[in-house]
């Protein structure tokens, strides 16, 4: 299913999230199972499936990584879940350094300072990669699409790091 079509939005990476939210609610107002509770069993089942589709589409467009993946899938490029064995050495090095930083937090004299530092680095890299992702996707040709796929793989590392950092932060208080 083309999620952009479902919400009548242009199939591009840059998205008006407010508009997406408004259209999402308009669709749910019509298709949510609560609107079909007095209907026949078949209608109820269809409403559940339709509402689930709408929720899934909304969820996928709301998050930049999933949105980019969906956009690439529509263009015929599917990113497999396995990590590609090859990654640029510089990138891997940077990842290792960040992991080491995260590992140091629990024993640090001032953990908050390290958390802030790690957070800042992750946010910075994420932002830069998202900018690159946007221009790769905007180019809309096969060569740039493959570049976009590589950027998405890199971004996944950073989202994972961010999640781990949040978990570490929680154990601090």
């Amino acid at each position: 299913m083309n999620y952009f079509q479902l919400f009548h939005l242009p199939a591009q990476f840059e998205l008006d999230l407010t508009e997406l939210g408004t259209r999402y609610l308009e669709l749910q107002r019509q298709f949510h199972p609560d609107k079909h509770a007095a209907g026949s069993e078949r209608d109820k089942l269809m409403a559940v499936q339709q509402a689930a589709n709408i929720n899934d589409a909304y969820h996928s467009l709301k998050q930049p990584l999933l949105r980019a993946e969906h956009l690439l899938a529509l263009r015929g490029l599917k990113i497999s879940n396995e990590q590609r064995s090859f990654m640029e050495p510089a990138f891997l090095m940077q990842q290792m350094e960040l992991r080491e930083l995260l590992a140091e937090i629990s024993d640090a004299a001032d953990p908050d300072a390290l958390i802030d530092e790690a957070d800042q680095q992750i946010q910075q890299q994420k932002k830069a990669l998202l900018r690159q992702l946007q221009s790769a996707l905007d180019a809309n040709n096969p060569e740039h699409d493959h570049q976009a796929a590589d950027i998405i793989r890199k971004l996944k590392f950073f989202f994972k790091l961010q999640h781990e950092l949040e978990l570490i932060e929680q154990t601090q208080d």
Partner: protein
């Protein structure tokens, strides 16, 4: 001259007619039923003039007593008087038995599930709850003067799949048509939101007799969007009572108690707790087998006893804020729900944590039933002034067991429902035709630390080389928060059959057997009930398809239209008769004929829903 259509009383209702619907708050301590009349939601009173019915069921040799009369007998006949049955819903015997010291009746193991040994034999929590539901429904139909078309039953937001399924089974056993299981905090937010036209982000702190829920909702123009929910389905005011019982035991020096004594201690503990909400210092009398014990307790003594429990709820509040990605400053209001929020320490702790004065303008004991009644009225199809939309979430992550006893999450907690997620599996051996899938619910990574929901056996997988079959298993959670699973082999399109074995629930067959053997139906003919169910469904199908034809006949070719009309005519004829199987077959036939029509209408309506936007895009 046109003929007037007159429906037989109690038969098919004209579409514009007000249908009878009720909201039921099936609580741990008390239960209530409410309905919307003349645009206002109100709780309903039984013949004795009470709207709050104690959730207590007493089995005597030849009778079942529910409510106040049963509660009055609790000390007299503890073994046959079931209190707080909600805590046992959808639970395993081994899970409950761990803290059985506080349960004053005899628990037994009913093939893994917890059940109670009574004078009328073994009763499971579903049967006990069905008695409470039937009593409430009875109050409603007597007050409203007719049979209920449907009910909304509230459940703690934090209830897992087995607990929800058990609640739905109880309603089925009580002969009720469940329009929706509604989360208690969402119901409360609905009652408050519509009452005050509140907008913004609110927290609902719901501490009942046996369960604790904390939910964060965003209210905006009739949309009630749950951002995150959390809690503890085994923490509530009952635990305050138990803490007091232990304290009383220290005072009296009675280290072991009989069932009857425990019941007396619990009664006194509850009185102490309630009185300490209004006073700082209390003299109390505890009746004993030989005389009585006179004692004194201050509010600060009590606060010290329950402090660890209150702290546990505040920890859950912190977690749920994190899940919602919000800070305390962003919470505009805190809605207090549940009788246990009357405890001063609870109020002050919540006020302090959220830095907001808690809202208590609607009676915390009744607000959930009122919200449920509002939603029941909407769902049954009655006209309402409010165009509301409730977007709720799944409270606990759903996952699958993978190699090494680990859980892989497929639907994370706080995902908006309904939701469907597919996962692909492949075969491990050549010619493998069956596969077992273990579904769990919980946040931890190890299988043993999560709650087992069910084991699914997939069979009829086409025999292929190892890794050749690709089985796509779809996990769907509906608007009630209930899971269903379907499976299909991708290359052949063959549907694999699924046998579900719920870990802590009853199979469909078991529920059917319970319905048939139930005392509740002694007077009613089972066959008649099944016939009526099919007739009602036939009526719904006729109404829906006729309305669809009137609106969108142009989507069909002349030939297609003819076959739809024929199917409808046949269904209308068969419906008049008393052949249940024939009606069922005619419904299925009509559904089959109109499947494509329904799909086309769905596509069109999606486009229509967004039409306003299409114009400015061109």
């Amino acid at each position: 001259m046109a003929l007037l259509q007159i429906a037989e009383p109690g038969q098919s209702a004209a579409p514009h007619q007000h249908k009878l619907a009720a909201g039921i708050d099936l609580g741990t301590t008390n239960s209530l039923v409410a309905t919307v009349r003349s645009g206002e939601a109100k709780t309903l009173f039984n013949k004795a003039g009470q709207d709050m019915v104690p959730s207590v069921v007493r089995y005597t040799a030849d009778n079942v007593i529910v409510g106040h009369a049963a509660a009055a007998d609790a000390v007299l006949d503890p073994h046959n008087t079931i209190v707080s049955v909600k805590r046992l819903m959808g639970r395993g015997f081994a899970e409950i038995n761990a803290d059985a010291e506080h349960i004053p009746y005899e628990l037994v193991d009913q093939s893994g599930l917890v059940a109670i040994n009574t004078i009328q034999g073994i009763k499971n929590p579903v049967e006990v709850s069905a008695e409470i539901l039937a009593t409430l429904a009875d109050t409603a139909s007597q007050t409203l003067g007719g049979e209920l078309t449907g009910v909304v039953i509230t459940v703690p937001a934090y209830f897992d799949d087995s607990q929800r399924q058990a609640t739905k089974d109880a309603a089925k056993l009580a002969g009720l048509n469940v329009l929706r299981l509604l989360n208690e905090p969402t119901a409360a937010a609905l009652a408050y939101g519509l009452d005050s036209g509140q907008e913004g982000v609110v927290a609902v702190y719901d501490l009942g007799g046996g369960t604790f829920d904390i939910s964060i909702l965003r209210l905006k123009r009739g949309v009630f969007e749950v951002l995150a929910t959390g809690g503890d389905s085994a923490l509530g005011g009952d635990d305050f009572d138990h803490a007091l019982v232990s304290w009383l035991q220290q005072q009296t020096g009675q280290s072991t108690l009989t069932h009857s004594e425990l019941r007396q201690y619990l009664v006194t503990a509850r009185q102490i707790k309630e009185n300490l909400s209004a006073t700082e210092q209390l003299d109390f009398v505890l009746p004993l087998a030989d005389g009585e014990f006179k004692g004194q307790i201050s509010r600060s003594d009590f606060d010290a006893l329950i402090q660890p429990l209150v702290r546990k709820t505040i920890r859950a509040c912190k977690q749920v804020l994190r899940d919602a990605g919000l800070d305390t400053e962003e919470i505009q209001q805190v809605v207090m729900v549940g009788g246990s929020t009357r405890v001063p320490l609870v109020r002050s702790a919540v006020a302090e944590f959220f830095a907001a004065e808690p809202l208590t303008s609607i009676d915390p004991d009744k607000v959930v039933a009122i919200g449920a009644a509002i939603q029941a009225n909407v769902l049954v199809g009655n006209k309402s002034d409010h165009d509301t939309l409730l977007l709720d979430v799944i409270p606990l992550s759903l996952g699958l067991e993978t190699m090494g006893g680990l859980v892989e999450k497929i639907i994370p907690r706080n995902t908006v429902i309904p939701v469907a997620r597919a996962q692909e599996f492949t075969t491990f051996k050549d010619g493998q035709t069956a596969m077992a899938i273990h579904v769990l619910q919980g946040e931890r990574e190890l299988v043993d630390a999560c709650r087992s929901l069910a084991r699914f056996n997939l069979t009829n997988i086409p025999a292929m080389a190892a890794g050749g079959a690709h089985i796509r298993v779809t996990f769907q959670v509906d608007a009630d928060g209930l899971l269903s699973v379907t499976a299909q082999e991708k290359s052949t399109g063959v549907s694999a059959s699924i046998q579900v074995k719920p870990s802590y629930g009853l199979s469909d067959d078991q529920v059917a057997t319970m319905i048939q053997s139930s005392m509740l139906y002694a007077k009613q003919d089972m066959q008649l009930r099944l016939l009526k169910e099919q007739q009602v469904e036939a009526e719904r199908v006729l109404e829906a398809v006729t309305a669809a034809l009137n609106a969108d006949a142009e989507l069909l070719t002349a030939e297609e239209k003819l076959s739809v009309e024929q199917a409808l005519a046949e269904l209308a004829t068969v419906k008049q008769g008393d052949n249940t199987a024939a009606i069922k077959a005619a419904i299925e036939h009509t559904n089959h004929i109109t499947d494509e029509f329904a799909a086309r209408r769905m596509d069109i309506s999606i486009r229509k829903a967004l039409q306003g936007h299409k114009v400015d895009e061109v």
